[in-house]
Every structure is written in structure tokens, then in C-alpha cells.
């Protein structure tokens, strides 16, 4: 954490549970600074959306503290922006009427609204649909409008739950550019997403949450270096009368033979033909090979023991 940055919001020792259910969040610490982009990564039901709703002050934690400069700021505009997974709008009104409503509700002055809304409509690629009623929008267009409405008042803290769901690659890149610009202008962003490429592009810091706990956190570099630089190959083989060779190639190590064979190497995919040859020469019947390069997907898999959904 860069101590030179302003701590916008700081959550310490946060616990939360819904009614008498088991705890959803356990001892969560999170500090977000102005201009920082923090990603929450975790399997479905890990507690990411609940954490966002606590930051929004919609849910009251069972215990723990929430502090930070955001809580004492005075502004004529709403300080937070939120885009969740729902796409609820005034369906019988046009996109621009919806955007104007949410902008004005968040405190944007009447004389500023048109310029701010039309600028963002262009950026997210909705300008052609601005005057159409929302009920005629595709799911992707509704998602874009939702994101626009969360951004339009230039919030100090932007909370996004699965922001790339429903977006085509062009819109996704446009969103990444917009979020980068928001961050450069001082807005902090906390987003929960399963879109690892998107997170890799943007996140300054990542919290991996599993079963309500932060199981790993740090910058991308810190997290990925904890994985080492090794590429993993997972080779499914016919285990009947298997006798494995001792050598699979230079700098290749067999790290697990309890199920599918797991090899690690720092030589990347160049080592695969040698592993393949060694197995074939030992008359091992190969059923399939999966390559796992070091990255957020692999980090997620190792930390949570689960595959990412979708």
C-alpha cells in the first residue's frame, strides 16, 4: 500500500452475516486510496458483492470499523457510484432521460447534465441509442447505460460488480479506458469481477476472497511472483499399468502424480515436446494436456482450489 496516497476508505476487522446464516465475511481488512483500482476476485458466493454493499452503506456489518476521508467529505454530489448486476431502469423512457435522471439525482447541476451525459454516451458507444426507449435496448446496452449512470457524477469512489458482463470487446476496452481516466483524475475504484483479462489490465491491487476471508492480497506483481514463474502442465493419462520415466527434460519437474500428472518448468511451453516424448517412450497413454501459465487464473486456482466460473 502506498502510504503517500490519501486513504479514502479503510475497513478493518469486518464481519458480516445475513440473519442467522453462517458468516459471509470474516475479518476483512481493506484500504482504498484516491486514484487506486482495487479488484475483488473470488468464486461465486465468496462475499464480494456483500462487501461492495457494505461499502455502499446498504448493509451494516456485524463488527468491524469503516473509516476514511470519504466519510467526512462534503460535496453537493453523491460521493459514490455503483453499478451492480441488475439492469433496472425506467423502461418506458429513453436512455438519455434515464441518464439525466440519475445524474441529477446524484447532484449534477442542470446546466452540466446534457454535456456530461452526451460525452459519456459517446464514450460507451450509446449515442445512437440515446433517444430510444430502454425497453428496446439489448442487455449489453442496458449494462452500458447502467455504467454510465454510475460514472456520470464523477464519484470519489466507484463500486462495480461484474462491470464487463454483457459488454462486447470494443465496449469492454472503452470501459477500461474510462476507468483508467477516472483513476487518473483521483477516483478510487473497487470492482468485483471474474474477467481476469480486464482485472490484469487495470487493477493496482487484488484481493482474493474465498468463503468470506481474504486469502491473498497484493499488487499483481506481488501475487504473481508468489506463484513463481513456472508454467504447469497437467497431463491426464491412462493409469493402467503405468510406469513413469525418471527424466522428462531439462528443468522439468514432476510435482504431482497422485491424479493427473502435474509438471512444472520455467522453460514455458517449449518443454512440452520433451515431456510428451518421455511419456510416449514409456508407453504411457496420454488422454489430454492442459497448460497453465502463471497468471491470475492460476493464482485463483491455487489459492481457492476452484476454477473460475464462466
Amino acid at each position: 500500500m502506498d502510504s503517500g496516497l490519501t486513504s479514502l476508505i479503510k475497513v478493518s476487522g469486518l464481519h458480516y452475516r445475513y440473519a442467522s446464516s453462517p458468516p459471509v465475511l470474516i475479518d476483512i481488512d481493506l484500504e482504498v486510496s484516491a486514484g487506486e483500482i482495487v479488484a475483488l476476485l473470488g468464486p461465486n458466493g465468496a462475499g464480494k458483492s456483500t462487501l461492495l454493499r457494505i461499502l455502499l452503506n446498504e448493509l451494516t456489518p456485524e463488527s468491524g470499523t469503516i473509516a476514511g476521508s470519504l466519510l467526512s467529505m462534503k460535496s453537493s454530489r453523491v460521493l459514490m457510484g455503483y453499478a451492480g448486476e441488475e439492469t433496472a431502469h425506467f423502461n418506458s423512457l429513453t436512455g438519455i432521460q434515464n441518464a439525466h435522471f440519475f445524474a441529477r439525482a446524484a447532484g449534477v447541476e442542470k446546466h452540466e447534465v446534457s454535456e456530461m451525459v452526451s460525452g459519456l454516451m459517446n464514450l460507451v458507444g450509446l449515442s445512437n441509442e440515446a433517444d430510444k426507449v430502454v425497453s428496446s435496448y439489448s442487455f449489453g446496452a442496458k449494462r452500458k447505460l447502467l455504467l454510465l449512470e454510475a460514472l456520470v457524477h464523477q464519484p470519489k469512489l466507484l463500486l462495480l460488480d461484474e462491470p464487463t458482463v454483457g459488454l462486447d470487446p470494443v465496449s469492454r476496452d472503452a470501459l477500461a479506458d474510462i476507468l483508467r481516466k477516472c483513476s487518473q483524475e483521483g477516483s478510487a475504484i473497487v470492482m468485483a469481477s471474474h474477467d481476469l483479462n480486464f482485472l490484469e489490465q487495470l487493477a493496482d491491487r487484488i484481493l482474493v476472497i474465498d468463503e468470506g476471508r481474504v486469502v491473498s492480497s497484493g499488487s499483481q506483481i506481488e501475487l504473481l511472483s508468489s506463484l513463481g514463474t513456472a508454467t504447469r502442465f497437467q497431463v491426464s493419462v491412462d493409469t493402467a499399468s503405468i510406469e513413469l520415466p525418471q527424466y522428462f527434460g531439462e528443468d522439468v519437474e514432476l510435482v504431482d502424480d497422485s491424479g493427473p500428472l502435474v509438471f512444472e518448468t520455467t522453460r514455458g511451453q517449449a518443454a512440452l515436446p520433451e515431456i510428451w516424448a518421455a511419456l510416449i517412450s514409456a508407453r504411457v497413454k496420454i488422454l489430454g494436456v492442459e497448460v497453465r501459465e502463471p497468471g491470475l487464473a492460476e493464482l485463483f486456482r491455487r489459492v481457492t482450489g476452484q476454477e473460475l466460473p464462466g
Binding site: 455502499l56 446498504e58 454530489r77 453523491v78 455503483y82 451492480g84 441488475e86 433496472a88 431502469h89 425506467f90 418506458s92 423512457l93 432521460q97 435522471f101 440519475f102 441529477r104 439525482a105 446524484a106 447532484g107 426507449v133 449512470e149
Partner: protein, 236 residues
């Protein structure tokens, strides 16, 4: 106060011309049928009062629960509209739209012997009664967990208040019921619809005024609870 929600209510109403036409035509057809059917004044006034008040309560509660279930209500509050502003503005817009939609039906119901003053009084009483019905609809919506419950609770609350307002009884001027009626919200509307054609409706509508003034205060006081409850609807 920017009246964003009230303006939005009008925009939504105007954006749905089919629904607007139905909301005007259905009460007109019902009132015409009763009016042309030669129903006794007391019965006709009772039916009109039930029709107009339920129009207000249902019309307020059901869309609110539907919007809460869809997540729109939560989005509006999250966007920065204070809950009390939202509920009051919504009732203000809704009651004005309802009153305009019911104006042709009211005119037919009071057609014949009504004076201009009597008609203006009837319009004001109708508008005020629907304002009460819309505010009640907000509160009813908070207690409901589904659209079916919303319809049920709206009917029960409105019919109970109509009963207290003396709509379903033969008047008993000297009894304790008369006192209860005087402070009930829909007594004035019933009385107006009953007596306006005879030009005898001159009493001060005490119950109506009390409810018109008190219910907004109650709404503001309960706004946070209503919001919390409606958000539960969107959480399932």
C-alpha cells in the same frame, strides 16, 4: 427539492399512452354503467368512492413493489434521492396523474345538477383523497413481500378505511360512529359524491384535512423503514 421523481412520474405516464387511455376509459365505463343504470344515490356514491380510492392505493403500491423487486427503487435511493423525498414526490406526482385520469369519470358521476363551485370542490376533494390513497399505497407496499400481497393489503387497508369513513353503512348521525367517520380519510369524498348533485355538500371535510396533513409527516417519519423493507423485496 428538485422534484425529479414527480417529473419522472409524469414522463412515465405520458410515455405509456395505452395505459393512460385505459386508466381514463375504464373508470368512465364503470361510472357510466352505474350512472345510466339508475342506481340509488347512496349505492352509486359508495361504488364511486371505492373505485376512486382503490385506483389511488393500488396505483401507488403495485408499481412501487414491482420497481423494488426489479431493483429500480434501490437504484434510485442509491443514486442520491432521499427516501422521504422519493415517497412524497412519488405520491404527489401519482395523485396528480390519478386525479387527471379520473376527472372525466368524476365529471360523469356528478353530471346533471352540479354547480361549478360544487364541481371544483369535488375535484379538490378527489385529489386530496387520492393523495391520501397514494401515500397509503407507499406504506402498504413496505409491508408486502410480493405483488399478490400488495394487492391484498391494498384492498384490506382501503376497504377498512372506507368502512370507517361510513361508505358501507347507513348514516347514524347521533352515534359514536359519526365521530369516527368525521376523522376518517374518505368520508369527505363519499359525502361529496353523495351530496354534490343535490348541492348540499358544505360541511368542512375535517377527516380529509387531518389525513392530508398527517400522512406526509408519518411517511417522512417512516421513510427509512419503508426503504429498508422495499430493499428486502429486491433481495428476494
Amino acid at each position: 427539492m428538485k422534484f425529479l421523481v414527480t417529473v419522472m412520474e409524469f414522463r412515465i405516464a405520458l410515455a405509456r399512452p395505452r395505459l393512460l387511455a385505459l386508466n381514463v376509459m375504464v373508470p368512465v365505463v364503470l361510472v357510466l354503467a352505474i350512472s345510466l343504470g339508475g342506481a340509488p344515490e347512496f349505492h352509486a356514491a359508495a361504488v364511486y368512492t371505492v373505485l376512486f380510492t382503490i385506483f389511488g392505493t393500488f396505483g401507488s403500491a403495485i408499481p412501487l413493489v414491482r420497481d423494488a423487486e426489479a431493483g429500480l427503487f434501490g437504484r434510485i435511493i442509491r443514486a442520491g434521492v432521499p427516501p422521504s423525498h422519493f415517497l412524497i414526490e412519488r405520491a404527489a406526482g401519482g395523485s396528480a396523474i390519478d386525479a387527471l385520469q379520473l376527472l372525466p369519470a368524476l365529471t360523469i358521476a356528478t353530471l346533471g345538477s352540479i354547480s361549478l363551485n360544487g364541481w371544483i370542490r369535488a375535484v379538490l376533494v378527489l385529489w386530496s383523497s387520492i393523495w391520501i390513497a397514494n401515500l397509503l399505497g407507499n406504506l402498504v407496499a413496505a409491508a408486502a413481500r410480493s405483488l399478490a400481497e400488495t394487492a391484498l393489503f391494498s384492498a384490506v387497508v382501503t376497504l377498512f378505511l372506507l368502512h370507517l369513513s361510513g361508505v358501507f353503512r347507513t348514516p347514524l348521525p347521533q352515534s359514536s360512529w359519526a365521530v369516527i367517520e368525521a376523522f376518517s380519510p374518505f368520508q369527505a369524498l363519499h359525502e361529496t359524491l353523495l351530496t354534490v348533485s343535490a348541492g348540499t355538500s358544505t360541511e368542512f371535510p375535517l377527516g380529509l384535512v387531518v389525513w392530508v396533513l398527517i400522512l406526509p409527516v408519518v411517511t417522512v417519519f417512516l421513510a427509512r423503514s419503508v426503504t429498508r423493507s422495499l430493499r428486502l423485496a429486491s433481495d428476494g
